[in-house]
């Protein structure tokens, strides 16, 4: 199977991917493009956000890797952000995912 076929199979088998992409904001999705366009670097997203759900799902499929959690503010009233990076598999698969499931281009 080609990477294209494999990726489409994953999308078909896991309905969360399309659902989480639909719930992510254009700004969140644009970060994926920026990560793909950069050799290094991680993206940050708010914990418990729709985008965190998306990146967590991508991590389960080996397309992203969790890179850390930062806490801001006082305990109980603070804010946490999560960092993720792309894997090699993700750099091949995510352009396909975005082409299939994201309605706008770059």
């Amino acid at each position: 199977m080609t990477i294209y076929d494999t990726t489409l199979s994953v999308i078909a088998a896991d309905e969360r991917i399309a659902r989480f992409i639909g719930a992510a904001s254009p700004g969140d999705l644009s970060i994926l493009y920026m990560l793909l366009d950069c050799e290094e670097g991680t993206g940050q997203t708010a914990a418990a956000s729709p985008n965190a759900d998306l990146w967590g799902c991508f991590t389960e499929h080996g397309w992203m890797t969790f890179a850390g959690r930062e806490e801001y503010g006082s305990a109980g009233a603070g804010f946490a952000s999560l960092r993720y990076g792309l894997t090699e598999n993700g750099r091949r698969a995510l352009p396909i995912v975005m082409a299939k499931l994201v309605s706008t281009g770059e």
Binding site: T2, I3, Y4, T7, L36, D37, C38, E39, E40, R91, R92, A93, P95, I96, M98, A99, K100
Partner: protein, 221 residues
């Protein structure tokens, strides 16, 4: 140091450094590319696309801005005549127009097996095709192997996926190749290429080159 470039468009550049180079951040690279495309007479709605391609190359360590400058500054015909010429020439035609015209065969070019490599006559400054090839394969996950031939000898090769490239061999074939070969990268038999995405946020150009681009843009058509 601000220079007035082609009417109201201004491109601010850093002063020359002690080694005689000028540092351009990518926003300035983009500004220069837009100004060069505008000065040359490319349609206004293509300027952003051309600038994106130049930045794509520069961020990956390839001299895309030089390629664009040479393409526009050495042109012997008006843009309209050059566009018409592209449909008649067997090689050396406009690389921007070539990218559009090759869209119809993009699938064929990027899925060929290595033993059946598809060859095309190269446009001028063929490096400017690389971002277009990346766009072709971006939604497919394909990895393409592009061969650059000079005097019918493959002089360099570039592996390209949707956002990354890996170049093997000298850089001049990316400017002077007369033929370009396309096939899918034989991942089953060749080691994986060391693909890299954008990693540069600024580039250093010789002061004389920047001055030449400035001069081109302020001279009359």
């Amino acid at each position: 140091m601000l220079q007035r470039i082609f009417g109201k468009k201004q491109v601010g550049v850093s002063p020359a450094q002690d080694d005689g180079t000028v540092v351009l951040k990518m926003d300035k690279v983009r500004d220069y590319a837009i100004a060069l495309a505008s000065r040359r007479g490319f349609p206004a709605d293509s300027h952003g696309m051309i600038a994106n391609r130049v930045v794509f190359l520069e961020r990956r360590g390839l001299p895309g801005l030089i390629a664009l400058y040479e393409e526009v500054a050495t042109a012997k015909h008006s843009f309209a005549d050059r566009a018409a010429q592209s449909r008649e020439l067997a090689g050396g035609h406009c690389p921007i127009i070539a990218g559009v015209e090759l869209n119809v065969v993009a699938n064929e070019l990027t899925t060929a097996e290595e033993v059946d490599t598809k060859w095309i006559v190269a446009p001028s400054n063929p490096m400017l095709l690389i971002p277009k090839i990346a766009e072709w394969v971006r939604p497919t996950g394909r990895l393409v192997l592009v061969s650059w031939a000079v005097d019918r000898q493959v002089s360099a090769q570039t592996a390209i996926d949707g956002f990354r490239i890996a170049h093997a061999g000298p850089l001049p074939p990316l400017r002077y190749a007369q033929h370009i070969g396309f096939c899918r990268y034989p991942e089953e038999t060749l080691p994986p290429p060391k693909l890299t995405s954008g990693f540069l946020e600024e580039v250093a150009y010789a002061k004389a080159v920047v001055e030449a681009m400035d001069l081109y843009m302020v001279t009359s058509r």
